[in-house]
Every structure is written in structure tokens, then in C-alpha cells.
């Protein structure tokens, strides 16, 4: 088991290095604005630009720049400075992270709270009215693009512009002062982000439950005389939930890496997703690299967590 973890960690590190290299190369291959010029700003003149070029080592060979960057990250936890604001990349990201984290955590809790009971009940009461309605509704939510859902939600429920003004609307996160107020501003974003994902998870769990309920060990559980409730909750759900755990880990990793970009844009939440959009527009390489690296890190970490968790959930996996 320990050997397995060590191996995964090493591969994870290797992966991070590769991801960084790819971003580096992409930046050089794709035509973008000259970062030195951007950095210099409007008052640029050739000497200033040249000065900045030297300062940033932009004329050094690419592998030298790459190596310097890697050294900075792994030994000093220094991601460089934003071309635009000259602030340390690390600080900007950490400043942005809480908003994304709050969005993700809240959405996850909400979608699990919906998907798990719905998935289980739909599987147990297959082809019932409830099963059919939930499956159709879930299809609707999966098909609807999240930004559309977001805009519709705002239109209907935002306290400033909505038809039924009950929830705080766009941009309310920045104006919120207490933690509670911040949560309030997240209500609509949580619901929107959770809607499509809950639908997917419910269907997935339903399918997994249906397969599990057909297994021989469920028949044995009934043959032992266990009450049906125990058969479903203790035997079936326990087995059916493991693929959901894998999915969850990947989704959380992705969302923290910036996948909530559309939700953040619609609701104007100052999170990591928003930041990367701005950075790309401004060709702010250190910011882009920093966010991508952070994102890759989250994905790798959550992948690892999920794999370890899987080994705890499924004892057969441990003996490999």
C-alpha cells in the first residue's frame, strides 16, 4: 500500500513537470503579444521594453527559462510575478482561491444531497412515476448549458433584477462582508452549478445501483433474512457508491482547477476561473502558468486521494 502511494506521488510530480513544460512551449509556439511590451504598458519605448526583456530573461533560451522557473517553483514556492500587476502570482492566486473553494464546496454538498437519495430511490423503484420524472428532469438539466441556467436563474430569482427577488444576485459576493453574507451570495451559483452535476450523478448512481441489485450477494443478503432496508442501504449502496467516489474526486479537482469558469463569469465571482480568462486575454504568462500549475496540482492530488480512498472502499484492490 505504501509502495503504491509513493509510486503515485512520484508519477504525480513527473506529471506536474510535464504540464508546466507543455504550457511553456505552447506559449512560445502560439503567436501572442510580446510580454515585455505588455509589461511596459502604454508608456513603452524600445529601451524600456529591452530593459524589461533583460530583466525577465526573455531572451534566454527557452530551456534556461524553463529551468529557472522550475527551480523557483519547487525550491522556493515562487511562481514569479504577474506581468501586468507585478504582484507575486502566488499571492494573487491565494487571494482568488477562497471564492472558488466556497463555490465548489457548497455545490458539492448540494449535488450529493440531491443525487444520492434520488439515485437510490430511482433504482429501487424502477419505472415508477418518480423514477421516470426524475430521469426526464435530469436530462433537461444536463442538456442546459450552465451559463444559460445561470442567466435564467438570475432573471427569475435575483434580488435586484429577478422576477421573484429572493436570492442575492450578480456581483453580490464582492459586496458581501460577513461569511454568512458570502454564503448567501453563493446560493444561486450553488444551485446552478449543482443542477447539472446532480443530474449526472443521480443517473450514474441509479445505473450503478441497478447493476449492483442484480448481483448474487444481494440475493444472499435477502436469503439470510435481512430486512429489505438493510439489504439496500448496507449491501447495495455500499457497493454501488464506489464509482461515484472516483467521479467526485475528479470533479472536485477539475472545479478547483478553474472549471467553474462559466458560473464564475455569469455571477461575477472573483475566483480562479475568472482570473485565468483575464490572464489569457492579457498574455500574462506567469499568471497563466501559475494557475495551470495549481490546477494540475489539484487534479493530481484529488486523483491520488480518490485512488487511496478506493483502496479503502474496495478491499480487493488493496492486494495488488
Amino acid at each position: 500500500m505504501a509502495r503504491y502511494i509513493v509510486r503515485r506521488v512520484l508519477w504525480g510530480v513527473a506529471l506536474l513537470v510535464i504540464v508546466t513544460a507543455v504550457v511553456f512551449i505552447l506559449f512560445y509556439v502560439l503567436p501572442t503579444a510580446d510580454p515585455a511590451k505588455l509589461r511596459a504598458g502604454r508608456t513603452a519605448n524600445p529601451q524600456l521594453v529591452q530593459q524589461i526583456r533583460e530583466q525577465l530573461h526573455l531572451d534566454d533560451p527557452i530551456y534556461v527559462q524553463f529551468w529557472n522557473y522550475l527551480k523557483g517553483v519547487f525550491f522556493h514556492f515562487d511562481f514569479g510575478e504577474s506581468y501586468l500587476s507585478q504582484a507575486p502570482v502566488k499571492d494573487i492566486i491565494f487571494h482568488r482561491l477562497p471564492a472558488t473553494a466556497l463555490l465548489v464546496v457548497g455545490a458539492v454538498i448540494l449535488w450529493l444531497a440531491i443525487a444520492i437519495p434520488v439515485g437510490i430511490i430511482s433504482a429501487v423503484r424502477r419505472r415508477s412515476l418518480m423514477d421516470r420524472t426524475t430521469m426526464v428532469t435530469s436530462l433537461a438539466f444536463i442538456s442546459a448549458p450552465v451559463f444559460w441556467l445561470g442567466l435564467v436563474a438570475l432573471y427569475l430569482f435575483a434580488s435586484d433584477v429577478g422576477v421573484i427577488p429572493i436570492f442575492p444576485g450578480q456581483g453580490s459576493y464582492t459586496t458581501a462582508d460577513s461569511f454568512l453574507a458570502k454564503c448567501g451570495s453563493m446560493l444561486l451559483p450553488w444551485m446552478v452549478l449543482a443542477a447539472a452535476t446532480a443530474a449526472i450523478y443521480a443517473r450514474y448512481l441509479r445505473s450503478s445501483m441497478i447493476d449492483t441489485l442484480a448481483e448474487d450477494y444481494i440475493r444472499t443478503a435477502r436469503a439470510k433474512g435481512l430486512p429489505e432496508r438493510q439489504v439496500i442501504m448496507k449491501h447495495a449502496v455500499r457497493a454501488a457508491i464506489t464509482p461515484i467516489v472516483t467521479l467526485l474526486g475528479l470533479d472536485i479537482g477539475l472545479l478547483l482547477a478553474g472549471n467553474a469558469i462559466l458560473t464564475e463569469s455569469v455571477f461575477v465571482i472573483p475566483g480562479v476561473g475568472q482570473e485565468i480568462v483575464l490572464s489569457i486575454r492579457r498574455s500574462d504568462l506567469p499568471m497563466i502558468q501559475g494557475i495551470v500549475l495549481f490546477g494540475a496540482f489539484f487534479i493530481v492530488i484529488f486523483n491520488l486521494i480518490v485512488d487511496i480512498l478506493y483502496a479503502f472502499l474496495d478491499p480487493r484492490v488493496r492486494y495488488q
Partner: protein, 356 residues
């Protein structure tokens, strides 16, 4: 025990499933009894209904599309009419069941010990410590070495034979009066099968329980059964004692089964094995009357009327579903060298896709 002395009595059981292809008559008029302390061997091939019938005893076939009629009397209770609570009281308690594949029949994520304790605590107030004691005692009883350690292990850490022993131990936790074993050795190697059969035999004697042994292997029947039930096409076609079935078989299907066997203790008799032409009947549209009629070389006009399960051979306990008279049968079933078998059918079998 019921008033008649039988431990279990099945009367005219029918289990029909409503499927997209039509109504599948998996069990279509089955009757048999199980005596206290005896082993009933139920032999049949796939599609005979043997598994469905026995799972129905414990109500495991109940589903939205299943129609179950008939009576199953166990200790003055009708299990067909029983509600879920009533069934749960019997399952794993007075009647226990073990299945064919012990690897898939045990939950892969829970330790064997805890699955056994669960079986105990579902039916009585037992503390964890007491239940654990009992389970380890049972694991020893079924011959699992190092029982204390095995109690805390997962199913995949056991070998095939040991897993089946563990399943047997789990079935015994509440001192069942009847153990239903559905092909318990089919998935095991032959040397392990011998061990398991021996175990079940020994346990039956020591604990005085009845056993229903379901199998397609007549060798297994010869080894463990006291009484035999031969099933075909959802019905019983012959029922009698072990000797009666093997030495005085009364139904052509039984002759076919006995004739197509290969034996390791006799020299190779003929170059060709006696075979039964055709294939098992469709359960959606079974043949009219006797279900074996299309494959039977001795079928005659009366066979389009379903024969009753009656005693025609002279012994009151030996029942069969064949219109032929007892003496006629004794002539027809004997081959050129005096061996029992089914004669070659003169015309080809009229089934949709010909020879099976």
C-alpha cells in the same frame, strides 16, 4: 412439522414471469415434499425450473412481473401467501440457502466474519462477542483451519473450496431445519467437490437437518440423496427413492439422462453415447400436454394430454408423469446390452431450429 409429517410440502406451484417476449412459465405445476432429516436431490437441466422453484420457497423470486400461485407449506405456514415480514423470519433462520458461486455470493467489501454475524443478529438478540464466538465455532465445524484469523478476512482471500465452506457455515448460524443447496459444487474442482459433499452429508447427520440438493449431476445425487425429484420443463416428471430412480426409472427423460452418462468405473461400452434428441422446451410456448413429448421416441396420441404425477410402477411412493404402463416402461427402457437408456427417435424432432 406439518400434520402430515412432511417438513416442507410444495403443492401445484406455478411461477410465471411476464416478459417482453411473453409469459415465461418457469415453474408450471410442481409438487413435492421434503421429509425431516432426509436429503431430497432435485435433478434437472437448465430451463427445468429447479432453481426458480427453490428460490420461490424463500420468496426470492417475488417481483413486479412475477405471478406465483400454489402452496408451499412449512410448519403450518404457507410461504406463498406469507408477507415480507413472515418470509424474513424464515429466511436464514429455519430455512437457509446456499448458492452456486461462492465468490459472487459473498459481499466483496465486508469481512466474512461480519457477514456471518449479520446473519445471526438478523434473527436474535446476540451481542457482538457472542455472535463472534458462535461464528468461529461454525467455521471450525465446517473444517476451515485457523478459523479465528479467517473470521476477519475478506471473501477474496479464501480459496474456492473454503469460500463454499464459509457459505455453509453462514447458512448454519441459526440452526436451520432445512438447507437448500443450489448447485453448491458445480463451480468447484472435483476433489474439492468431494470434500464439500462429504461435509454436507456429515453436517446433515450431526445436526439432523433436511437438505434439498439441486444439481444436474446424477453422480452427486447418487452420493448424497435419499429421495430424488427429476424436473423437466417446469414440472416434476419423476419422484421416488434413490434406488427407485436409479434402478427402476419410470420416465423416458430419466432413461435419457441415465443413458447419456459416462461412467469412470466401467469400461467404455459403446462407441456412441445414448443421447436425447432435440432441445429443452420453450418456457413461453411449451408443448401441449407432456412437455417431453417432442423429444420422446415412445410418444403416442394420449401424450397431448398432460399426464398427472401418479404412481404407476407399483410402489406408492414412486411417482411419474408418463402415460405408459409400468411393465411397458420396463421393456422400452432397456437397450441391446441390457443397459438403461432412451431409444433413438425415429422421426426428427420438430422444433424451430432442428437439432440442438
Amino acid at each position: 412439522m406439518s400434520a402430515t409429517g412432511h417438513l416442507l410440502e410444495v403443492e401445484d406451484l406455478r411461477v410465471h414471469f411476464d416478459t417482453d417476449d411473453g409469459v415465461v412459465k418457469a415453474v408450471d405445476g410442481l409438487s413435492f415434499t421434503v421429509e425431516p432429516g432426509k436429503t431430497l436431490g432435485i435433478v434437472g437441466e437448465s430451463g427445468s425450473g429447479k432453481s426458480v422453484a427453490n428460490m420461490t420457497i424463500l420468496g426470492l423470486t417475488r417481483a413486479a412481473n412475477a405471478e406465483i400461485t400454489g402452496r408451499i407449506t412449512f410448519e403450518d405456514q404457507d410461504l406463498v401467501a406469507a408477507d415480507d415480514a413472515g418470509l424474513q423470519r424464515v429466511r436464514g433462520n429455519d430455512i437457509a440457502m446456499i448458492f452456486q458461486d461462492p465468490l459472487t455470493s459473498l459481499h466483496p467489501f465486508y469481512k466474512v466474519g461480519s457477514q456471518m454475524v449479520e446473519a445471526i443478529q438478523a434473527h436474535r438478540d446476540s451481542s457482538d462477542a457472542e455472535a463472534r464466538e458462535r461464528c468461529i465455532e461454525l467455521l471450525k465445524l465446517v473444517g476451515i483451519p485457523d478459523a479465528e484469523r479467517r473470521f476477519g478476512e475478506y471473501p477474496h482471500e479464501f480459496s474456492g473450496g473454503m469460500r463454499q465452506r464459509a457459505m455453509i457455515a453462514m447458512a448454519l448460524t441459526n440452526d436451520p431445519k432445512l438447507l437448500i443447496a443450489d448447485e453448491p459444487t458445480t463451480a468447484l474442482d472435483v476433489t474439492i467437490q468431494a470434500q464439500i459433499l462429504r461435509l454436507i452429508d456429515r453436517l446433515q447427520e450431526e445436526l439432523g437437518m433436511s437438505v434439498i440438493m439441486i444439481t444436474h449431476d446424477l453422480g452427486v445425487i447418487a452420493e448424497v440423496a435419499d429421495d430424488v425429484l427429476v424436473m423437466y420443463g417446469g414440472r416434476a416428471v419423476e419422484a421416488g427413492s434413490l434406488d427407485e430412480i436409479f434402478y427402476d426409472p419410470q420416465h423416458p427423460y430419466t432413461w435419457g439422462l441415465l443413458g447419456s452418462l459416462t461412467r469412470t468405473d466401467r469400461p467404455r461400452s459403446a462407441d456412441r453415447l445414448s443421447q436425447i434428441a432435440g432441445q429443452p422446451p420453450s418456457l413461453i410456448a411449451p408443448p401441449q400436454g407432456c412437455h417431453f413429448r417432442p423429444r420422446c421416441p415412445h410418444a403416442f396420441d394420449r401424450c397431448t394430454e398432460t399426464p398427472g404425477l401418479d404412481a404407476r410402477s407399483g410402489s406408492r411412493s414412486h411417482l411419474d408423469r408418463c402415460w405408459l404402463g409400468g411393465e411397458q416402461k420396463r421393456e422400452l427402457r432397456v437397450g441391446p446390452e441390457g443397459e438403461i437408456g432412451l431409444a433413438e427417435r425415429k422421426e426428427p424432432v420438430a422444433t424451430p431450429t432442428g437439432e440442438s
